[in-house]
């Protein structure tokens, strides 16, 4: 068992309790984790093929000609209907994320008009976070990503949501942040990011050192659950037979 397998299970657990909605984990390990959730404890989740179809298959990735079971047609325009009607839990990436879960993948640098590093743009982060449950996947937990203040707020965090007031922000929920080191959540008194569990072999000090702000660290931090033999077999043989998860987290 490798770290990537533990991350897959931790991602799957983010979707626990979601029932019948569109689980939209973006990225390699997120896609595998979402499939694992559906194949084991959340059978009613709907998931995309990465493009315009919602598919019933346990397999996470398809070649262009691979057969798949299409449940529904979901082009981009329909996806916005899903998002704005509140029937989605998305898992996005982040180039920067702060203690309240404000997220940035638009640009790095103090001067937005001439950024030091131009990234993707706001993409769908503002709309996702104000309308639906959002989780984040960070494959490279470091002080470059976990920062006290993000340079551009794309996805909104709990402090920004609170400032909007309870009515405007009533659909906002940041559930988890899964990284290659640990699982984080916002289940603290002031909604600052909290250390939820440590992947086996990782210490609190290592996570603290890789995080550029003060985390809420409970007295007892449990270990992140690891996949059972049955879950590992399912991942290995059905969901990700090509082992793409090991290209995203190598250890």
């Amino acid at each position: 068992m490798r770290t990537a397998d533990i991350c897959v299970l931790a991602v799957a657990d983010c979707f626990r309790g979601d029932g019948e909605l569109l689980a939209n984990p973006i990225g390699t390990i997120p896609m595998i984790g979402g499939r694992l959730a559906r194949a084991t404890f959340e059978p009613d989740l709907m998931m995309t093929d990465g493009e315009a179809m919602l598919v019933a298959d346990d397999r996470a990735f398809f070649g262009a000609d691979d057969p798949r079971t299409i449940e529904a047609y979901n082009p981009y325009r329909a996806m916005f209907d899903v998002v704005w009607s509140g029937r989605r839990h998305v898992m996005m990436g982040a180039s920067q994320i702060d203690p309240y879960g404000n997220q940035n993948f638009a640009a790095i640098g103090a001067d937005y008009a001439k950024p030091k590093v131009q990234l993707l743009g706001f993409r769908g982060a503002p709309g996702n976070t104000i309308n639906d449950t959002t989780s984040y996947w960070i494959p490279n937990h470091s002080t470059n990503v976990f920062v006290e203040h993000v340079d551009v707020v794309c996805g909104i965090g709990y402090d920004r949501a609170a400032a909007l007031g309870p009515r405007a922000a009533r659909f906002h929920e940041l559930r988890r942040v899964v990284t290659n080191l640990c699982v984080l959540d916002f289940e603290s008194d002031d909604r600052r990011m909290r250390l939820r569990s440590l992947h086996p072999g990782v210490t609190v000090d290592e996570v603290v050192a890789a995080t550029g702000f003060a985390l809420v660290v409970p007295d007892d931090v449990p270990e992140t659950p690891v996949p059972t033999d049955e879950e590992l077999q399912l991942i290995d043989e059905v969901i990700d037979p090509d082992g793409l998860r090991y290209t995203e987290v190598k250890s």
Partner: protein, 286 residues
């Protein structure tokens, strides 16, 4: 008897209708089904100071690299298999283009508002984010109903011109998408007040459109289109499924040309400063 309008044009005829300073919407999504043969014609032209409105990919990147862009109106710029658009990054990091960022759904509402001829559409999208700080066109609106909530007013993204690429079309301007997603090509065409141009892989008789695909694929009609260009392989190097996939090797070469001004000059000399027929011949010979 009056004959029906024949709207068939060449890429250069399209460019002749465009003017410097125009706001031009470009269909497709990322590095998928982009009207690249028309973009290439714009690159070769004297046009400048363009405001480009796009779910952006190499269309925006190439226009930035060629110095055609005054302002980018966009939600992301990506080559899909290469996550970040390299030439757009160069232009942004040099601070040489104006930046008007959107969320991709907010952007959709802006196109929809223009298409419906209303000044804005209300949405929750953008509340609490830095979009309201970095996009100086965005304003909020208070609901006139009892809830009294504040919303973002997605501004109508009115276009002076729109260009899209479809799989099939007829000479009258009916268009057909055969791939997985129409994206927002219909909205780009409806959001433009004029100069609405569609290139297609193949022009077919109207009768043949429903032989190519089911009637559900006939989502562009001639009321939305002023000119049709037949452009086989016209979306190259972006994908145009099911006719062809993205040319990944070519795209990698394009991305590398952002490494230095010299690399861009070499790419430009080889692939931009030639006409479309020569370009397509060279692509075939690769």
């Amino acid at each position: 008897m009056t004959a029906p309008r024949d709207k068939v044009l060449r890429e250069d005829d399209v460019v002749a209708e465009l003017r410097s300073g125009m706001t031009i919407g470009i269909g497709g999504w990322g590095s998928r089904r982009k009207p690249m043969s028309i973009v290439r014609a714009i690159l070769r032209s004297d046009l400048t100071d363009l405001t480009v409105v796009s779910y952006a990919g190499p269309d925006l990147g190439l226009l930035c690299a060629a110095g055609k862009v005054k302002r980018a109106v966009y939600a992301f710029a990506s080559l899909d298999s290469i996550p970040l658009e390299p030439h757009f990054r160069v232009a942004r990091q040099a601070g040489v283009i104006e930046d008007e960022p959107y969320d991709e759904g907010l952007f959709l509402l802006g196109l929809q508002a223009a298409a419906w001829r209303v000044p804005f559409l209300p949405t929750r999208v953008g509340l609490g984010s830095d979009l309201l700080m970095h996009n100086d066109r965005l304003r909020t609106v208070v609901s006139p109903y009892d809830d009294g909530e504040t919303f973002v007013a997605a501004p109508a993204l009115e276009l002076d011109a729109a260009i899209v690429h479809l799989n099939r079309g007829d000479a009258r301007g009916n268009g057909q998408f055969l791939g997985p997603d129409l994206y927002f090509d219909d909205l780009f065409l409806r959001a433009a007040t004029g100069n609405r141009f569609m290139s297609v892989e193949r022009i077919v008789p109207t009768d043949d459109l429903t032989k190519e695909g089911s009637f559900h694929t006939l989502r562009i009609n001639r009321v939305m289109v002023d000119g049709v260009v037949e452009a086989p392989n016209g979306a190259h190097f972006t994908s145009c499924a099911p006719d062809y996939e993205r040319d990944e090797a070519f795209q990698r070469e394009y991305a590398k040309s952002a490494a230095s001004p010299e690399a861009w000059d070499a790419f430009r000399a080889e692939w931009i400063d030639i006409d479309e027929a020569a370009y397509q011949r060279k692509v075939q010979e690769r």
